[in-house]
Subunit: 106 residues, 2 copies
DNA sequence: TAGATAATTAACTAATACTTTAATTGCTTA
DNA sequence: TAAGCAATTAAAGTATTAGTTAATTATCTA
């Protein structure tokens, strides 16, 4: 099950920070590495893990490898799990109401 | 930040299964242990970790210690993170629509 | 083609996490 | 108070993870 890999991938602050960086824009492996106090190989491993979990995708363009976030994968897994554990409770419902409202306004 | 502990806690299949069991009803440590092929001390450690992360609460009643799920804590953290990474995207929005619809019907 | 840059893989070390058995604590009841 | 069950804590071993440096692969450019 991919859920295992996703939660494993998320159990690391630097990996979650990488996802946050990628939420704004796609970045090269080097771009990402430069944002951390860690060597490039270490970042490369984190990226492999995130990709294996299906949370990011990579594409080589010339010398560079660009990484981008797979939003759906992340959101599907997290909300899927949240709904499994507590079907329709609390803050998520509130969030949804907010979203629904915004949609109504748009 | 509690987020670290929550994601750490979720990075374990048995711990996620414990949460799933607790989503239906509160259970004693022994009840939970009996559902796994693992010794009681091992389960006890998993429970401690879940409690430290704020995902469950425990209460001793006589000989027994009852555990229950802290739904809000789980949902808050997961949706908080999901929204941080992708503000209003995809399946969560769909989920919310579904919820909003159900609410309309109720 | 040779040299330089980007990125990954390999090999190794250090730190963490998981599980087990054994010992301990808390509560109940005969 | 002693015996017994529930649960946790302690101690110890094993395995996994995260990080480093060194070597390798891929691409670009002079």
């Amino acid at each position: 099950m991919a859920v295992d890999q996703v939660f494993e991938a998320l159990a690391s602050r630097p990996r979650r920070e990488i996802l946050a960086y990628l939420s704004a824009q796609e970045l090269t492996a080097g771009d990402i590495a430069s944002r951390f106090e860690m060597t490039a190989p270490a970042i490369s491993r984190h990226l492999s893990l995130l990709e294996a979990a299906g949370l990011v995708s990579s594409e080589r363009r010339g010398q560079y490898v660009f990484y981008r976030l797979n939003q759906d994968s992340l959101v599907n897994t997290l909300t899927g799990f949240a709904f499994e554990i507590c079907p329709a409770a609390g803050p998520l419902k509130r969030e949804s109401r907010k979203l629904a409202t915004r949609k109504g306004k748009a």
